[in-house]
Structures are given as structure tokens and as C-alpha cells.
């Protein structure tokens, strides 16, 4: 701060007036306390007058070097305005990109949600079909019943075959009895033959008178021999009948002796199958439940995600606000730099100077007030949780 003699003569009006008043007072009035009081008042007045004028001094002295400052300020203004314009355009571009991306995302998630719902309904159909139709378990149970029926039939057949076999055994015993009787008849025939032979011998010994007896004895021998032949033929028939019965017994015995292992292993297979089907039914129903659960969860996830896409609205509001701020900032920058330029480069009266600087300040104050009001405004949503969207 330089304090030159020239500055004393520029505008020390208050100082000069105060000095004149002090001189008049000291001449007209002579109390002892007046002198120090006057000295104090004068000093204060001069000090005030010179201090108030000091700020104006450099500006008044400046005009000679104003051109470089103007250019520099011009540069600053154009750089700031350009940069702010770029930022505004970029924000606009970003907003477009955001809108497109969000609309695509929304479409994708809508598709996902539709497909999930479709999947869920298909799954429900499958479960309904499984519940309503004839199950493999029923099939196995019926096959098991059939098998038991079949085994029962075989056992009944065996029982009846055995009954027949026992009857045949009884008949064979009767046949054996017939054989025994036939042997007796044979013995009788042999004895008859012997008797006839003896009779023939006796008849020969009797001579002529025994001739007729000899003929009878011969006939008796013939009869015995015939009887023997008949016996043999009966015996042959009975023997053949016995052989036939024996064969029949074998056949019926084979019929009675059925292997039950096939039926048994089939039964075991059916039991295993039933157990397996029961287990696999339980497992698949559990899996189906899980899939339904997952699909439900997926639906809820998708709805949460779609709700989260509301961030686009909030972000758009924010970006729009930022764009407005930037545009206003452009205007403010243009106006204020122009005023500052004038303040810096033009020689102005102190009043005009104060007025210009005041204008700049008030312009900035207005801008600050605008910003304050905007940030208080009702439009902005701060959290995603605030809105709920029910999709299904």
C-alpha cells in the first residue's frame, strides 16, 4: 500500500473539512481539553478518509496494461464456456445411452419373468399328470396280485395231480392183487393137468374098459392147457395196463412238480421294482418341489431387479438437474467474466466500480440461492427402496 502526497489531494474532502472546523474551534474557544480532543478527531477523520479511498487507487492506475488481462479473461471465459458446453452435451449423450440400456434391460427382464411363469405352469402340469395317472406302483401291485394268483393255480394243480397219482397207486395195488389171483388160477390149472395125466395113466391100466375115461382125461388136459394160455394172456394185458399206469403216473408227477423259482424270482423283481419306483417317485417329487421353489425365487428376484431399474428415473432427474446447473453456470460465467473484464480493464469511477462488483456478487448470490432451493426441492427421490412394484 503506497501512500503518495498526490493521493492526499485527490479526495480528502472530509479531511480538509475536519481540519477547517478544528482550526475554527481552536481559534474561537480555548479550554485546555479541546486540543487533545481535536487532535484525536482529526487523526480519526484523516485515517478514515484515506482508507476509504485506497482500493480505488490501483484500478485507476491500471488502464495502461489492460489489453493482456482482457485477452486472458477472454481465454478463461471461452475455455470455461466451451468446457461446460462439452460437459452438457456429454451428459445428454449419457442420458440417451442410459435410457436405451434401461429399456433393453427392462424388456429382457420382462421376457425372463414371462418364461419363468411359463416354466412354473409346465412344471405344475407335469406334477398334476403324475398325480392323476396310473402309477408304476399300481402296475407293480397288480402284477404282484396276478403272480400270486398264478402261483396259487400251480399249487392247486399240483394238489389235484397228487390226488390222481395216489388214486393210480391204489389202482396199481388192485392190479397186483389180480396178478396174485392169476397165479393161483395158474396153480389150479397145473394141478388139473397133473390130475388129468394121472387119470390117463389109470385109464390105460384099465385097458379097453378105460378107453372112454382116457378121452375125458385128454379133454381135461386140453382144458387145463387152454386155461393156462388164457391166464398168460390176461397176465400180459394186466402187465401192459400196469406199465401204462406207471407211465401215466410219471406224466402226472411231472405235471405236479413245477419249479416255483421262476415265479419267486419274478415276485422278488416286482418287489424290488416297487421299492425303486416308490423311492424314485419320492425323489422326483422332492426335486419338483425344489424346482418350483427355485422358480418362485427367480420370479421374486426378477421383480426386485425390475424395481431396481427405477434408478433410471432418479438418475435422469439428477442428470437433468446437473445439466440445468451447467447451463446456468455457462450464463453466469459469461456474464461475470464480462463484468470482471470491464472492472479490470476499464477506468471507472469508484461508484461505478462498486456497482459493478456488487452486480457480480448479487448475480452469484442469486445463483447460490437457486441451487439451494433446487436441492431442497420435492422432486428428488433418494432411495430405491421407496417404491414397490408388484409384477405378478
Amino acid at each position: 500500500m503506497s501512500f503518495t502526497p498526490a493521493s492526499l489531494f485527490r479526495r480528502p474532502l472530509a479531511g480538509w473539512i475536519a481540519s477547517a472546523v478544528a482550526l475554527l474551534l481552536s481559534l474561537l474557544w480555548h479550554p485546555a481539553w479541546l486540543a487533545p480532543l481535536l487532535v484525536l478527531a482529526l487523526t480519526a477523520t484523516w485515517a478514515f478518509a484515506t482508507r476509504a479511498e485506497l482500493p480505488a487507487a490501483p484500478v485507476v492506475a491500471a488502464p495502461a496494461s489492460s489489453e493482456p488481462v482482457r485477452e486472458a479473461l477472454e481465454d478463461v471465459r471461452s475455455a470455461l464456456v466451451d468446457e461446460l458446453g462439452h460437459a452438457t452435451r456429454e451428459l445428454h449423450q449419457g442420458l440417451d445411452l442410459l435410457r436405451d440400456a434401461v429399456s433393453e434391460l427392462g424388456g429382457g427382464f420382462d421376457g425372463l419373468s414371462n418364461k419363468t411363469a411359463l416354466q412354473q405352469s409346465l412344471l405344475k402340469q407335469i406334477i398334476d399328470v403324475q398325480d392323476g395317472g396310473v402309477s408304476v406302483q399300481d402296475f407293480a401291485a397288480r402284477t404282484g396280485d396276478l403272480l400270486e394268483h398264478f402261483v396259487g393255480m400251480i399249487v392247486q394243480m399240483s394238489r389235484e395231480s397228487l390226488r390222481i397219482v395216489y388214486r393210480i397207486d391204489g389202482m396199481a395195488k388192485e392190479m397186483d392183487a389180480v396178478f396174485g389171483l392169476l397165479r393161483n388160477v395158474n396153480t389150479i390149472a397145473e394141478e388139473t393137468n397133473l390130475l388129468a395125466l394121472n387119470a390117463a395113466i389109470e385109464a390105460a391100466r384099465a385097458g379097453e374098459s378105460g378107453r372112454g375115461f382116457a378121452v375125458v382125461a385128454g379133454e381135461i388136459r386140453n382144458l387145463a392147457s387152454n386155461s393156462n394160455q388164457l391166464n398168460e394172456r390176461i397176465g400180459g394185458h394186466v402187465e401192459r395196463a400196469r406199465t401204462a399206469m406207471e407211465q401215466l403216473r410219471g406224466l402226472i408227477g411231472a405235471m405236479a412238480s413245477q419249479d416255483l423259482n421262476v415265479a419267486l424270482s419274478a415276485k422278488g423283481g416286482i418287489d424290488a421294482m416297487t421299492a425303486h419306483v416308490t423311492e424314485s417317485d419320492a425323489r422326483s417329487s422332492k426335486v419338483a418341489d425344489q424346482v418350483v421353489e427355485i422358480s418362485r425365487g427367480l420370479g421374486s428376484d426378477v421383480s426386485t431387479t425390475v424395481r431396481s431399474l427405477q434408478f433410471e428415473d432418479i438418475l435422469r432427474q439428477l442428470i437433468t438437474q446437473t445439466r440445468t446447473r451447467l447451463t446456468e453456470l455457462q450464463d453466469v460465467t459469461t456474464e461475470c467474466t464480462r463484468d470482471i473484464e470491464e472492472l479490470a480493464c476499464t477506468a471507472l469511477e469508484a461508484d461505478a466500480l462498486a456497482e459493478r462488483s456488487q452486480r457480480v456478487r448479487s448475480r452469484l448470490a442469486i445463483q447460490r440461492e437457486k441451487a439451494r432451493l433446487r436441492s431442497r426441492g420435492p422432486a428428488l427421490q433418494n432411495s430405491m427402496e421407496a417404491g414397490e412394484i408388484e409384477l405378478f
Binding site: 399240483s158 389235484e160 395231480s161 405236479a256 419249479d259 415276485k267
Partner: protein, 99 residues
């Protein structure tokens, strides 16, 4: 096949051999299906039996008929798991007492 009759209880015990099939049908008949009064109770011991076919089951059914059908007291004992399941498939667990 070993047959044992307890006169005190009038109980006939049949201890079958390795095979219980058609080959023993005559012995079986002679032991318990022949003419004469049936015993009060029967015990069929299958402890040694390794193989059994449908004729064995037929013989058991004939014995049941002979012993008075529903009034018959016939116990089948010592049957192996396989024989037991054969008897069960044939529904014998409802007709006889299986031990």
C-alpha cells in the same frame, strides 16, 4: 424223511430230507395221508430242506384236507428264508402256522 409220532399228544412230526418234492410223495402218503384216523396235530420240519417244488405244496394242501381243513393244526418249522418266501407267495402263511 423221518417220521415220529408222539402218542401222548397225538402229534405227528415229519422231518423232511434235503429234497421235498415229487420223489417222496409215496413216503409222505404212507406217513400221513393213508387210511386211518388223522393225528391231532402235525409238525413239518423243513430244517434240512434245500429244494422244494410245487408238489411239496400240493402234498401240504392234501395233508391239510386230510387233517380237517380249517380245523387242522399244522405247524411248519425251521424253514429257510427262501422257503419261507415261497410259502408266503403261495399264500401258505394264511393256511398254516409258519414258525
Amino acid at each position: 424223511m423221518i417220521v415220529h409220532h408222539d402218542p401222548e399228544l397225538d402229534c405227528l412230526t415229519l422231518q423232511l430230507g434235503e429234497r421235498f418234492d415229487f420223489s417222496i410223495h409215496r413216503d409222505f402218503h404212507d406217513a400221513c395221508l393213508g387210511a386211518g384216523k388223522p393225528a391231532r396235530s402235525y409238525v413239518i420240519d423243513l430244517g434240512e430242506v434245500a429244494g422244494m417244488d410245487s408238489s411239496a405244496l400240493g402234498m401240504l394242501l392234501l395233508l391239510r384236507e386230510h387233517a380237517g381243513a380249517d380245523r387242522a393244526d399244522i405247524r411248519i418249522v425251521n424253514a429257510s428264508g427262501e422257503l419261507r418266501s415261497t410259502l408266503r407267495v403261495a399264500g401258505f402263511d394264511k393256511l398254516f402256522v409258519l414258525h
